[in-house]
Amino acid sequence: MFSFRRPAGAGNLRAHSLRQLYRKFLSENTREARGQRLLRDWLTPEQRRQLEANGYFEVTGCDSGKRYRIYRGRMTNVYEMDDLGSPRKGWCFVPFGFLAVGDVMLAQKIALETSEDAALAVANRFVPKNGLPSGHP
């Protein structure tokens, strides 16, 4: 006859697994995690590759054709690049309200790609100092 009794310790293992699964669920459903997922979903494949490799992605301004680099962060994270890949100036603009980092970056991307002049009209300019951020947290 087969015995279907659980081996000793199986209950603890099951509880441990359930706790781990619950923690994973919680960590993947924080607003920051959701923001990162939304951002990744809305990037082009090339932008996604840049973000994963370098901690930033680049967009092209719809009105000027200029290249912008968007680094991880909520503020002072957008740089207008020159043809040589150096930062020409920095632009600071964010969606109103305290949004997740991924959401801010996505809004910045969409704004520059669809309403560049309007986005820069509300932005504060800053001078890039000490080169560009490292791109990695």
Partner: protein, 73 residues
């Protein structure tokens, strides 16, 4: 199911609706107009990730994303 995604302090709030349901479509359009009136920007994307700003409700869009008005940082 079509989706309206609104960026907010929780991350984002999603409203799913059946685009074949006339009432659900009408409700979605009402929500679109309310958000637009509050200064939200609406955008859609295609399969390659190219984004377009939309100024009126598109009943054929699978996903419409909204983010609040921009301010200087």
């Amino acid at each position: 199911m079509a989706t309206l995604i609104v960026m907010d302090h929780t991350g984002d709030t999603r409203t799913y609706f059946d685009a074949k349901d006339a009432q659900a479509l009408a409700n979605a359009e009402v929500q679109f107009r309310k958000l637009a009136a509050r200064g939200f920007t609406a955008a859609v994307r295609n399969e390659t990730g190219e984004v377009t700003r939309v100024r009126s409700f598109d009943p054929n869009a699978e996903e419409i994303l909204f983010f609040p008005r921009l301010v200087g940082g």
